[in-house]
Symmetry: C3
Subunit: 203 residues, 3 copies
């Protein structure tokens, strides 16, 4: 129940982040909806396709569809006022990636995959919706350039596998490692920490 509420908030925030990018590109309502959809469920969809869980998750659970439709209509109508929600949306989004990371890791564990692959699946679940959104909008994905986003997922993922070796209840492992993802992202944004961009001296 608690997890479902978080999942809905995360889906909602992801969808709105998609709407905001689509509006900047002056898309029509259909384009805005697709971008909202892809941002929300794209990461989980890619994960499902790579591990062979089909039909992919969102096709079997109409909650995602309704939340994304609602978020899109809501944010198209109130598009001039979305800036006032910026902090709430940022928090939902951050909670969403924490949850998505752990959900992705657990799907990998169910398939019996290696911990590093599970962490990759968690990171894909949390981050690749945004990557596909940026590709569809003809941008180099923002998380490849300046966001501490994937790094938070990877650190939370390692925490998950360390905690799992200790005599701790599975639910607590879930909550702590998800919280680490959230904390790393909040701290990085608060203190403007990001990975340095790399380049060769002579280009």
């Amino acid at each position: 129940m608690f997890i479902q509420i978080i999942e809905i908030l995360g889906t909602f925030a992801f969808a709105i982040s998609g709407v905001l990018v689509a509006l900047e590109k002056r898309m029509d309502p259909f384009g805005v909806l697709i971008i909202a959809f892809v941002t929300s469920v794209g990461g989980g969809t890619l994960r499902d396709v790579l591990i062979g869980v089909t039909p992919v998750t969102w096709m079997l659970n109409m909650t995602y569809v309704y939340v994304i439709l609602g978020a899109t209509v809501f944010s198209i109508i109130f598009r001039k006022y979305l800036d006032y929600l910026r902090i709430s949306l940022f928090l939902f989004d951050t909670i969403g990636i924490g949850l998505y990371t752990v959900v992705g890791i657990q799907k990998g564990l169910i398939m019996g995959l290696h911990p590093i692959i599970c962490i990759a699946l968690g990171t894909i679940t949390a981050c690749f919706g945004g990557v596909i959104r940026d590709i569809l909008c003809n941008e180099i994905p923002v998380i490849f350039r300046k966001e501490v986003y994937a790094t938070a997922c990877i650190l939370g993922g390692f925490a998950y596998f360390i905690l799992r070796k200790l005599p701790i209840d599975d639910n607590i492992v879930f909550v702590i490692s998800g919280s680490i993802v959230i904390a790393v992202r909040l701290i990085a944004v608060k203190f403007k920490i990001s990975l340095p961009s790399l380049y060769k001296d002579e280009v």
Copy 2:
């Protein structure tokens, strides 16, 4: 038999629309072929992968491959005269999306998916070949910005599920809802109707 002819005409028209975009980007013959291929079968391929029907359809039916190869060679040779075929190609293309939409819906029904998901699958089948084409050509997909294309598919999809509740033969449901897709697109192009592009006032 009748449906197969339509499918071949649609595949042919989709392939040529891919060739035209690839020529504008001055690709080499291999690039042109890939873009033709992706435009024709990309939507159905994405649908198959999402619902787990693999190997994807075109790998099991060489007709697609031969039609696309033929369309590519034809349109490379006659590339200077393709403008004369514009109206025929537009008609084939429009008939193709009508057919592809209903085919996609039916694949969703076979998997036991919710009507809204089926409509999404129909729209993906008809429209996402063009989306992948535009991504490979480094453009924002045209259907997100100005084409009444997806909207026609969605309206036809709703018609399909309304008609299906009536005591009508399945084949007639198929033909009518496909025709609605075609009619909506023809009317929209004829009267230059499109969805408004959205943006925030202050950008």
Copy 3:
């Protein structure tokens, strides 16, 4: 054993080619790693997804992951000196596409697919890592424009199916057709042969 060494060299060279493109785009270390990964395993991943072999190959074999991680760290550290390795990298890369092409063909044969589809799968395995890399970096894929890369794979693929009809040992068919891919590419690069880019006279 011999094949595994070639595969590791190919994976290594592909990963570094990804790093080089990512550095030009001034990505952060995470972005560089993802591009290296996608360049190395993207083609095989797309092939696996299209034919329904899941979880995809690299998730079940940690060798790929370690080689790519190693190649990425190596080439980030020595990024200023990579130019000195240009010829070695080009050779590894070329050997890699020869191997990947034949591996892809054989996966198609195992699924009982038509020879033309098998050749397409070989070409996808060898070339689409680079295609996905270029899309993520917001470029029109280079192989659609000027590289004799796919052409080499296709020629090697036809050779494979011609040789297979002769009374020759399977391993020798493997080696000869892979070598043809390598030879065509080397000759094309040496003599600066490429397919002409196509365009309509009036644009």
